[in-house]
């Protein structure tokens, strides 16, 4: 059996991972093909039909401006997936570079970077976000900055520990003795050895990141209207919770699907590829 076949076979054997993969596929398909899946223009106003319940015309009802909730939920998956991709890859990149610098560079740099990592990690994320928003104003960029600033230290610390462990191994010492430069050692010898587990941790970070984005948008300090985000749909629904529960129900559903999907998939990936990584959490 070749590598991919074996991977899918093992995932299939693990019911939780299989279930997770289906949910993740659902989210990704809806994000990629969003314009073809929506039944209405997600921003089209229809005041006459505002706050209408679910019907054949509007599968998930309409919101306070008469916008079709189903179309907004589908389009919202684009923001969620996009923010997750951008922030996780940025955090991964910054964490890799700084972590390798800390792990391989001089002692003072290590100390300084560790302090940076520990400080950034010690802000409660949402509080930090709210402080930033007060100063810079709410926007998608602020959301991305907050998420990256609070997640890259985790990667940074991981990379640092692994780089240090590798740096003492014989093949690295041999390279150094032959006069290899820092860039060559880090890029060719250390990077390929540490990147695997990082991707698994990154995949488990996706639900966390999606939650932060939706949470900030729910508080009204994230993605700006009228762009649909699952968080802002929930925010719209919260104001009308007493009479029109469907906005909350259908706005929360995709969040549950996404977080469950990525978590189940991530857990199984970790068990399949790297059981050693199984931390207690």
């Amino acid at each position: 059996m070749n590598w991919t076949k074996q991977f899918f076979y093992r995932l299939y054997r693990e019911p939780m991972g299989f279930f997770g993969m289906i949910l993740v596929a659902l989210v990704i398909v809806s994000a990629v093909f969003a314009p073809f899946l929506t039944t209405h223009d997600h921003n089209a106003l229809d005041i006459a039909n505002r706050l209408a319940g679910p019907s054949a015309e509007h599968w998930m009802g309409t919101d306070q401006l008469g916008r079709d909730v189903f179309s907004r939920v589908v389009m919202g998956s684009r923001i969620a997936v996009w923010v997750a991709l951008v922030t996780v890859s940025m955090s991964l990149g910054i964490g890799l570079v700084l972590g390798m610098m800390a792990g391989y560079g001089p002692k003072w740099l290590d100390a300084a970077l560790l302090l940076l990592f520990d400080t950034l990690r010690s802000f409660p994320t949402i509080m930090f976000a709210l402080a930033l928003v007060t100063v810079f104003g709410p926007s998608l960029q602020t959301v991305i900055i907050v998420i990256v600033a609070t997640t890259f230290p985790v990667y940074g610390r991981m990379v640092r520990t692994q780089t240090q462990a590798l740096g003492n191994q014989e093949f690295i010492v041999a390279e150094e003795a032959m006069g290899a430069g820092m860039v060559r050692i880090l890029g060719i010898h250390i990077l390929p050895n540490i990147v695997g587990p990082l991707f698994i941790v990154a995949s488990m970070d996706i639900p966390v990141v999606v939650t932060i984005e939706a949470g900030l948008s729910f508080l009204g300090v994230g993605v700006r209207p009228p762009t649909p985000s699952w968080g802002s749909i929930l925010n719209d629904g919260y104001a009308y919770i007493r009479n029109t529960p469907w906005i909350i129900i259908f706005g929360g559903l995709p969040l549950i699907v996404t977080t469950l999907g990525f978590t189940f998939l991530g857990e199984s990936l970790r068990d399949i590829f790297d059981p050693k990584l199984r931390r207690d959490l």
Binding site: M16, L115, D118, T119, S122, F123, P124, T125, I126, M127, F128, L130, A131, L132, V133, T134, V135, F136, P207, T211, A214, G215, F218, L219, G220, V221, L234, G237, Y238, I241, R242, P245, I248, I249, G252, L255, I256, T259, L260, F262, T263, F264, E267, D280, L281
Partner: protein
């Protein structure tokens, strides 16, 4: 050990100082008059003038930060210009409410999570263990504010079993308790999963140890072995988790307080963000950061006391 303690406390102080500097310098990153940035559009020219004098905004940046740090060290977090009251007083008044909520949440989560974890460990690899595992991962994954919204919708709006908003009349404990149930449920649910998984993992390790085998050989009943001998050791990682979990707890408390319109530090920060009242935001964020740093320092130190290997890592 003393050396470790000194180092760890030193690190905590440095982290807090860096946090203060970061929060303070943020207002200078934005172009424009810092006074307008701090006070937002509602500020009158007199307020701006007052702020300029009070914070010494015309002095060099380093001097400003140093004097602000000095004030913070003495417990002075500045003035709220809109209500003319000290920020520290406003923040600490709200802190109690949040702490009650956080403690209630973590309390019920432990009451349910620890037995679940023990059960899973004793009956490992059975169907019910897998079910508990599935449930644990599920509740960890789902965002707490979605749980809050759904439970508000189900128990307060639709079934009308519990009150929807507020914290209850002061002095009436039954009323306050009823108002506490839903927010504490929303925050604690994910922690039930966390604690159950952690207790299960450490319980499995402990159950393999020699002194447990000895207790078995003596013929002690299984429930006595689990709860009287093994749990004492298996509970330790959970205590550590709680120390580092305070930050996440406070973050989810922000959502619970806003969804259920409860007074508290999260609601305070949110309201100040909406009205663009930076001194209040900064004060509240600082207090919660200090709380978080304090709890991680304590849990790290307790860990180092119990496990000498941790001491060498810092």
């Amino acid at each position: 050990m003393l050396f470790y303690l000194l180092k760890r406390i030193g690190l905590a102080v440095v982290i807090v100082v860096v946090a203060v500097v970061l929060l303070y310098s943020m207002i200078h990153v934005v172009p424009g008059d810092p006074a307008s940035v701090i006070l937002g559009p509602r500020a009158t020219p007199e307020m701006k003038q007052e702020l300029h004098e009070l914070m010494g905004l015309d002095r060099p940046f380093v001097v400003q930060v140093a004097s602000f740090l000095g004030k913070v060290a003495r417990g002075n977090l500045g003035m709220d210009f809109f209500s003319q009251r000290p920020v520290a007083q406003i923040v600490f008044k709200q802190l109690d409410e949040t702490l009650v909520l956080v403690l209630a949440s973590i309390g019920w989560a432990m009451l349910l999570g620890i037995p679940l974890g023990c059960y899973s460990a004793v009956f490992r690899n059975t169907f019910s263990d897998k079910l508990v595992g599935f449930f644990s991962i599920g509740v960890i994954a789902v965002p707490s504010f979605v749980v809050a919204l759904y439970s508000l919708l189900l128990f307060a709006v639709t079934l009308k079993w519990l009150p929807a908003i507020g914290a209850g009349e002061p002095g009436q404990y039954m009323d306050q308790l009823q108002h506490l149930i839903l927010p504490a449920f929303a925050i604690g649910l994910g922690w039930v999963g966390y604690i159950a998984r952690l207790v299960r993992a450490s319980m499995l390790e402990v159950l393999n140890e020699n002194h447990i085998r000895r207790a078995r050989a003596f013929g002690l009943p299984e429930h006595m072995i689990v709860f009287q001998y093994a749990l004492k050791l298996a509970i330790l990682p959970t205590v550590t988790l709680l120390g580092t979990g305070i930050g996440r707890l406070i973050s989810s408390a922000v959502f619970a307080e806003i969804v259920f319109a409860r007074p508290g530090i999260g609601k305070l920060i949110f309201d100040s963000v909406v009205s663009r009242n930076y001194p209040l935001v900064m004060g509240a964020v600082l207090v919660s950061t200090v709380l978080f740093v304090l709890s991680t320092t304590i849990s790290d130190s307790v860990n180092a006391m119990l496990d000498p290997r941790v001491r060498e890592r810092l």
